[in-house]
């Protein structure tokens, strides 16, 4: 079946099987490999993307379900060579070690800002990140990065 959608502001389309997962469509067909598959069981959050402005786990959504939707992936955040403030905050605060979970952390961070604003306390960030798993950092610098990125988004 054919699907038509908008990805990072550009029209995209593709021929998919009904059973194609959204994350596989993004990675294999659109070659947007920044969105990762960590667990494939909707636990880890490495595959989080925005669908119509809301965070979803793209390993637990069919590509067909995204037909007609407006998607943002990690590739859609930077402005050329200039990182998005949330990405920059991860870089500045050493908010990652291996980096595998980072795309999902950044997307979930943006979702937290959308719902809770730019002044975030650590407890809110930790609670709202309970669908994103990092096996390296112990989260300390991820929480710091999201709080700082949130603040920087208004600058």
């Amino acid at each position: 079946m054919k699907i038509d959608l908008t990805v990072n502001g550009q029209a995209a389309s593709g021929e998919v099987e009904a059973r194609t997962l959204l994350v596989d469509f993004l990675r294999e067909q659109l070659r947007l490999t920044g969105t990762h598959v960590g667990c494939d069981t909707s636990q880890c959050g490495a595959c989080v993307v925005m669908v119509d402005g809301k965070s979803v786990k793209s390993c637990t959504m069919l590509a067909a379900m995204a037909d007609g939707c407006d998607l943002t992936t990690i590739e859609g955040l930077a402005n050329g060579a200039e990182l998005h403030p949330m990405q920059q905050a991860f870089m500045d605060n050493h908010g990652l070690q291996c980096g595998f979970c980072t795309p999902g952390m950044v997307m979930s961070g943006l979702d937290i800002v959308n719902r809770h604003g730019r002044e975030l306390d650590a407890a809110t960030v930790r609670r709202e990140l309970n669908g994103n798993i990092c096996r390296c950092t112990g989260y300390q610098n991820i929480v710091k990065s999201i709080r700082e990125g949130a603040r920087a988004m208004g600058d």
């Binding site: 909707s42 669908v51 979803v56 709202e128 309970n130 669908g131």
Partner: protein, 264 residues
Amino acid sequence: MYSFSYHRPASVAEAADLIANAADGKLVAGGQTLLPTMKHRLASPSDVIDLGAIAELGGIVVNGNIVTIGAMTPHAEVAASGEVQEAIPALAALAGNIGDPAVRNRGTIGGSIANNDPAADYPAAVIALGATVRTNRREIAGEDFFTGMFETALEEDEIIVAVDFPRPEAAAYMKFENPASRYAIVGVFIARTAVGARAAITGATDCAHRAHQLEEALANDFSPAALDDFQAPVDRMNADIHASAEYRAHLVRVMAQRAVAACA
């Protein structure tokens, strides 16, 4: 997952036709349980009928003392709804603590209750609040809806349209959650209504159910202390790697007492 035919009807009537004519069809709402189940090849429907494009299944309406939540309303929308927060804050809080934020953006009330996971949160609210499940064929009383583990009163190909929740005087839901899955190891929903206390338990046994014994204990004294000597039947409790039957029985009392305290 195995291959299937995908359908995206625009109306309940069209969805009913599609499911009736499918060899082994499945309705999908948010897909947060069905898709993982299909990935594990524990389900392999011939046809998947996606209810996501049916506008009439969405939305929240408060009419007098009834809060109506459309079957396809995601948990995040219920949690963020000012109307639900005002009318039944316990219901908004329950929805806001299911799974994680991304799951709440996709998972729906209709999907949750149709699936009837023994540790799901919504069934406890539907039972304790005395809600009514409306389908494309009839109305089903909340406490008659959940009939067994992953079993409901829904007939073959019947489609949930909405759930009507009567506004209680006060209500609270307390769950002791599995920190990995966020499902309830034990969850207790208590409602104080014009006709007395109502209680429902999820997670503890094979199916969410009304807790008449809790209600009787609270009938004359709606206070946490009234449950000091309450003992849930250990022989009915689930036992698994997360909690023994004895521990779950203990948690039923503790969660019930916390819920009653939160109703004050």
